[in-house]
Symmetry: D2
């Protein structure tokens, strides 16, 4: 049963609308830019590797309404959380794959878009497997919060034949109430690395 | 005649795809978040006040394909630039209004969404006129680059009956080539102030 | 009794070396830049208005060893905290003035440098009184965490005859351990407004 | 002949006071924090490796007036620039070593503090040689502008036995005039990595 409706053609569901249950959530602004950098289409196959709460997968599923989204998440309880969050927004084109990447990607159809969030220390393997599964011209976006995953993403994507690689650091601050005043709260910086698999490789 | 196609359901047209001709362009990442904060629908009336190159108006027109976008721009040559940029992407639901806000808003139909970019020093008047034109439940997003326009936006929106006001500061850095190395280039910080006109006021 | 020694000619005492007891502390990097922007000399009279834990006052007292620092703090318990923190670093050229600015500035000798941290909503009055007390050529630095105090500082300093006004926004992130990984933690953005009272006004 | 005097006990010489002649300058705020993180003493031997315009070396020489600063710079014309800049501020405890690190460090006395700016692609070798030259308890600070040098610094310093390693990302924006308005100009983000060689290793 749906208890929230996101009746918009743009991403940006507020963080508080998702159930978190202790699972890390990709914050709204980072989520929006991550999704924009993927350049979604209304159809196609989308993976969200290390899907966490499912917030990116769910927004992608809403935007690509005629597509299929696979949310890959090794933690079984997080997998259940994703389903509950998907149910909340009436999403029915999202499939949860409980398992660890890259192995869990094995049986999936080829992808048009791939998001990589959590990697559990196996980022290079995951990117290599993701590149194998991604169609020519497909796009992949990594969210990185450490300099090690950032550096590995940039190097690995180039080596795997991705082009138009963009690397961003995003610092967002929001004004929030603090007593009677309203002060800036800085969020943690996040890196985005996006690339497109070259056609005709 | 269309010479570019943006065949995606997400915003994020690269900056270089727009003709600029010396007119300031809202950069891709700021543009994406500005559009996301507006929560567009596929229909409805959208204003872009101080439209500049038209980049926000054009992305909005593509996303709200069954809606109408009014790009208000006082500079006649910038108005022509907006039309050329719109033509480039095959946009035909965008209307350029050459004139100065708030006066230029007079004859327009009521709006569902309003973007405020440039204000030419008349921000408070523009926000007041925009609030008059905005339907209940409609959303307005201001892009501010000075502390004066930021402070004025926050105060004025609250006074005009907007709710759920969010204020963000966005710092984006991109990795760019510099000689043989690749270094971070910081973009100028930008403020976003978004609010929703309370229903039933 | 001294239990810590800061045997350096540069500011930058780690945050954890101060007793906080719930009082807000100006973080190390912001404190360093605030002090640098004041351009301290080894002598002279320095005020720290809204001194909080006393961290800026204490670093200033160590650097201006032949000068006198007045830490103005309205909260009596914070005043005691400042003295304990000063004692910790063997500082003996710091005087705590328990009282509210601007009134509390009345009996103090003219100042060469003034820091303004907390203002309790009376920033404009405080800046005006501070300008009265500051010698020609003296420097004043405000730390602001809200857009209201930022805007008020910039406007008021210019109106009071300060020159060379600099306004900075400082975003610092640190890498910190998070489980097995090490991730970026963003600190809240802070504004610094610095100016110098024009000679011969 | 001295034509500028920096009569302060704090670092922070304005950028415009240095002759640049096309050589990259460490901007004032980054320079201040870099110097603060080094925790200078009034005496001791300080290296500035990849000294560029000499701005860090000169500020260090002014603060450590009874110490000796070695500015190592491979480019001969930059070496001459450093001397001109040093002369400008009346600095006479600064020695320019024209040569490439790590080789150029060979004949220098042991160091108490080491700054590493430019590394010409040989960062790991330079850090290893620097650690050899640094006394126990000495401090080293790297300025990095690429993710490769950042990642290499963090890993190498830990491997070389440095402790208390701090890694910062610094984003500074300044308000600058733009036509009639005053807007934020973002500077490029810079990383600082600081560490202290463990005593008794």
């Amino acid at each position: 049963m749906t208890d929230k409706t996101w009746g918009y053609v743009t991403p940006g569901i507020p963080d508080a609308w998702f159930e978190k249950n202790g699972v890390p959530l990709t914050r709204e602004e980072v989520r929006c830019l991550t999704i924009c950098k993927a350049r979604l289409q209304s159809t196609g196959v989308i993976y969200d590797i290390g899907a966490g709460t499912g917030s990116i997968a769910i927004e992608a599923a809403l935007l690509a309404g005629a597509g299929k989204v696979y949310a890959i998440e090794k933690n079984k309880r997080a997998g259940e959380l994703i389903l509950r969050n998907a149910g909340r927004f009436g999403v029915n084109n999202l499939h949860v794959v409980v398992g660890e990447a890259p192995e869990a990607l094995g049986g999936l159809p080829l992808a048009d878009r791939i998001f990589v969030g959590g990697s559990g220390g196996r980022l290079k393997e995951i990117l290599a497997a993701a590149a194998e599964k991604l169609r020519d011209g497909g796009r992949l976006v990594v969210n990185a919060v450490t300099i090690e995953t950032l550096a590995a993403s940039v190097q690995t994507l180039a080596a795997l034949g991705f082009g138009e690689i963009e690397t961003l650091c995003l610092n967002v601050a929001r004004i929030e109430p603090a007593g009677q005043a309203r002060v800036w709260k800085g969020m943690n910086p996040v890196y985005l690395v996006a690339g497109q698999l070259r056609n005709g490789m």
